[in-house]
């Protein structure tokens, strides 16, 4: 039995009268690739931001990487990586400068950063782009870079918010290879996605509907439960119940 790196119960976030996340309870085990599914507006991003310590829960409790999400949110941040839905590296910094900045923020030394940067650019086949201003990179490359920066400091957990949104199928495939590599290194991956084929790549998936988690299991088990041939069908059966639109 592997240790739980994320454990939350009754996690809730309200914006005024609107309940974005409604008492969700789940856990994520170490080294797992955990898929966090849901229609637009189901509350995935909000839930993820509470786990990352950038959104204050209205109610509920939990731990991430062993730290309390309410009181120890700054400690959590030392142990996680985060890639937001909207590309949010600095467009006016070069590739190596973005890597260096975030490496530095996480406390890596100049020397370690330099060595790791070389290795990373080599691995990504980005050597030529080292001095390219990030705004000039194509979207797929940007996403790869953002993911690499998110795990540059070797966090325990990496949170990916729709990392493959708007990216072509070939690039998506490469991206998932990177996710697997990270998981092999022992990084727990918490990923939200819209693509149901990607859900199949996850060890376990949860499906959010209207702020609640309506299903949570391995893809195979979910298909069996819902008597469906694919995750796509599972998702459609659940999403039909949703009252919130886009």
């Amino acid at each position: 039995m592997k240790a739980k790196v994320i454990e939350v119960s009754g996690l809730t976030k309200k914006f005024g009268n609107f309940t974005a996340v409604d008492h969700i309870t789940f856990d994520v085990k170490e080294g797992e690739i955990f898929g966090f599914l849901g229609a637009n507006g189901a509350g995935k991003t909000t839930a993820m931001q509470m786990l990352c310590g950038i959104s204050m829960p209205t109610a509920g409790a939990g731990t991430v990487a062993g730290y309390d999400i309410i009181k120890e949110n700054e400690r959590i941040k030392r142990n996680i990586g985060y890639m937001s839905q909207k590309f949010s590296l600095y467009e006016d910094l070069k590739v190596w400068e973005n890597i260096r900045l975030f490496g530095g923020i996480y406390g890596l030394t100049d020397k370690v950063i330099a060595t790791k940067t070389d290795a990373l650019l080599e691995r990504l086949n980005f050597r030529e782009e080292r001095n390219t201003m990030v705004k000039y990179l194509p979207l797929g490359w940007k996403q790869k870079l953002a993911f690499s920066v998110a795990i540059f400091h070797e966090p325990k957990i990496v949170f990916l918010d729709e990392p493959t949104g708007g990216v072509d199928p070939a690039m998506r495939r490469q991206f998932w290879e990177m996710i697997y590599e990270a998981a092999d290194q022992g990084i727990t991956v918490f990923v939200t996605t819209h693509y149901m084929d990607e859900a199949e790549y996850c060890n376990r998936v949860s499906i959010m509907v209207d702020g609640r988690i309506d299903a949570l299991d391995t893809p195979a088990e979910l298909r069996r439960q819902f008597n469906a041939d694919s995750m796509d069908e599972v998702f459609r059966q659940l999403a039909r119940k949703a009252k919130r639109g886009d």
């Binding site: 950038i54 949110n73 700054e74 941040k77 949010s88 590296l89 900045l101 530095g104 923020i105």
Partner: protein
Amino acid sequence: MKTLKFLIEKEFKQMFRNPLIPRMIVMYPIMVLLVFPWAVSFEIKNIRIDVVDHSKSTYSKRLTDKIEASGYFILNDTPPDYRTAMLNMEHNETDMILEIPSSFDTDMVKNRTSGVGMAVNSVNGTMGLLGSNYITQIVNDFSSELRSELMHTLPPQSRASIKRMAQIDIVPQYKFNPSLDYKNFMIPGFMVLLLTLICGILPALNIVMEKENGTIQQINVTPVSRIHFILAKLIPFWVVGLVVMIISVSAAYLLYGLWPVGSVLAVLFSAIVFILSISGLGLIISNYSETMQQASFLVMFFILILILLGGMFTPVSSMPSWAQLIAAINPFSYLADTFRMLYLNGSKLADVTGNLLAMGVIAVILNGWAVFSYKKRG
């Protein structure tokens, strides 16, 4: 502390890559100091005057010439009577009327005293006040000039009587800015204005820009401390402000020959303390704003208050007490005062310690607030 190095490095790179900001930092002070000191002045010149000369004597002619030669007045007309002059004023052809009585010369010689009549169009209050002051000064000047001349023409026994009846003249002595050059007075003020605009607006737009770009989220999710983040935003503007000051002080010297009578280092040092406070204000505004539009609107509003209640254009001492209260917490008024003391009075650093202390306290409070209002968790 190591984190700070990386953050500051990033801020400088972004600043220098901005197509406008580096140029603005250089051009702004030069343009402002090149243009404004000539245009923004409370000195009133070219006041149009009608002289109604009933005396038509040598003395009255001399007085008229003297008024014209002062440089403040333009002789519009010499109408035969007051009524015509008044019509001129009504038609807005003249601003002032000076009426010289027919007995002017005889009064001057025999009675050693005389009166002239004066009418001023006070629609423009400042001009009315200053215009009449100028005339009074010129007439006083003229009369003492005449008296000393008459002294020499009179037989010695009569001189004593004139001495006895010597009238009391008010002779103002203008200290510290002897030429009464308005530019000298305004230039230190413009330097404060420059620092306020550049080091107030840029930080105000900075954090909010990261919010609009979404990059702040990537920062918020890291363990970076709030103090480091704010310091990294603050320090680059400190450097920018210092550069602006060095350019301004040099420009003031090269363009106008104006150099601080006191210590130039004290000028730079007090600027540094001021920049911290004004940039702190900018960062607070940025923290509370969600969009650039909100931030620019807010920062303009506050800067306007700082400037207009800061004693640059109108002295703080003549403001109502509530406005003086605002001036007491206005870093602008402290620096404007400090710069004028250092530039014109020749004060030393020790003389402006009080102002520096006040600005220091304001800076600490504002930046503490900036750290506090930067929320990493929404």
